[in-house]
Amino acid sequence: MSRLKRQPPWSRQIGRVLLALVAISFLVLFLLLPLAVVFVEALRQGLHVYLSSIGQHEALAAIRLTLLVAAISVPLNVVFGVAAAWLMARFEFRGKALLGAFIDLPFSVSPVISGLVYVLLFGAQGWFGSWLGAHDIKIIFAVPGLVLATIFITLPFVARELIPLMQSQGSDEEEAARVLGAGGWQMFFRVTLPNIRWALLYGVLLCNARAMGEFGAVSVVSGHIRGLTTTMPLEVEMRYNEYDYVGAFAIATLLALLALLTLAIKTLLEWRYSDEIAAHAPGGH
């Protein structure tokens, strides 16, 4: 009867090879080619032009600003992520589901809206605008605005990485430490932290990549003041809009290298410590 319908093995093999070829061509065309184009376009006029383009004063200022913004926002979100994960994975309380939803909220908000909300708070016409103006404090179109928008965008990364892991690990070891007389911080540094270190590193890695690469949110609060409030992604945009394509792609290569480095470390962590990282939920970026 229907057994006759079974395909012979050779057609099955051809089917598999075709399917794999379609998938691989999609990955190459869709992911590898855009990556390649960045480097080729940057080096179009030779290595010398490329290097001098990166060495320009505004480029160096943008690199410094990007590092500064990440150096402030990532540690703040690490502290929050650990505290939130401790709370969510170790205690039951009313409103827990709601709190979890609020932690994830920045992932489902458009980056432009993430910047906009701070303009509405601290901009000239915002809630605190006149007070800030009277006291000569600048948040919007200045570095604090860039930091705030970046914190908002990258807030969920560490918490999201830690919560499922700590939930699956359970609290037996921590309870044992407490019963044996460890103080709260002693338990945290000797038991909790070593148990979550690789997941924490993983979260920091993703958080940092997003913090350095964020464009939409910082573009709204930046004001695009060259050398003062332009991070690397914003410098890419400004150069591109000024038709300095080689210059735009030159900065873009640095960001692409950061992305490749992030992917390499991430993959390494997944291979070596997959048990200690937990099932990685794809971080919405």
């Binding site: 319908k5 906009l116 701070y118 992604p233 792609f249 692409a256 950061l258 990685h280």
Partner: protein
């Protein structure tokens, strides 16, 4: 019981609430407050503007289409990565996350360099009469790019844990491969596929950086809603920007709630099949 043994409940709760309050809730409250400032009349005026409607339609319909494309290709790529063994598989697997790691501005200018009329691929496509950059297809292409990893990454663990006995049973009972796929495998995957779809959709609706370079931003044609918010801000129309932002937020939440409904329903359906 745990609460008594483990310390830090009050500290972590207080800290998390204060941090979330300052960073997320207070700013969003400012958005809602500023948006309500324009009143019902102002909202109707905003929503009846053809340019606003065109931008919202492009952002939402484009994101839907991009998420559908991602569901298809994501399923294919996840299937090949999980089921087949070929040289370079792990490299390709790691590469799937590239759109997560690559800053959106970089993705934007790279895609534009590829698909612009004088670009690497664009010059061929133009000679066949296909325009991608500076037109709606460019917007959708960028949306597919940023949403691509979501479907693959949500599907992979589920595909890896599928019980192959069921497939073998189906085939030994005479089902063809296509029948096995559509009747046995796909129904189980639908809830997960919807999760990936929802994530890719949410990402694409709000996407800005990778889209604005390739879109060309022609009003009524290839202008996305987030860009319209930025333009309103640049004209110091704070209330209009806030209102449009609020509309986008509410619309995406409604969409995500509908998808999670659909997901629950398809989950029950998948259980019934087994």
């Amino acid at each position: 019981m745990r609460r008594r043994i483990l310390p830090g409940f009050g500290l972590s709760l207080g800290y998390a609430l204060a941090y979330l309050g300052l960073i997320v809730l207070l700013p969003l409250a400012a958005l809602a407050w500023k948006a309500s400032g324009i009143g019902i009349g102002g909202m109707l005026h905003l929503l009846s503007s053809p340019r606003t409607l065109a931008a919202l339609r492009l952002s939402f319909a484009g994101a839907m289409l991009a998420a559908v494309i991602n569901a298809g290709f994501g399923l294919l790529v996840a299937w090949v990565l999980v089921r087949y063994r070929f040289p370079g598989r792990r490299l390709f697997d790691a590469l799937v996350d590239l759109p997560f790691a690559l800053p959106t501005a970089v993705a934007g200018i790279a895609l534009t360099a590829l698909y612009a009329p004088n670009g690497w691929l664009g010059r061929w496509l133009t000679s066949w009469g296909i325009q991608i950059a500076y037109a709606p297809p460019g917007v959708i292409l960028a949306m597919v790019f940023v949403g691509f990893p979501f479907v693959v990454r949500t599907l992979q663990p589920v595909l890896a844990s599928l019980d192959r006995d069921v497939e073998e049973a189906a085939e030994s009972l005479g089902a063809s491969h296509l029948q096995t796929f559509f009747r046995v495998i796909l129904p189980v995957l639908v809830p997960t596929l919807l999760t990936g779809f929802a994530l890719a959709l949410a990402r694409a609706v709000g996407e800005y950086g990778s889209v604005i370079f390739i879109a060309g931003n022609i009003p009524m044609r290839s202008e996305i809603a987030p860009l319209l918010i930025v333009e309103k801000l640049e004209e110091f129309d704070y209330a209009g920007a806030a209102a449009l932002g609020m509309v986008m937020l509410l619309a995406s939440f409604i969409l995500l709630i509908l998808i999670s409904r659909l997901q629950r329903w398809s989950g029950r359906w998948a259980e019934q099949l087994q």
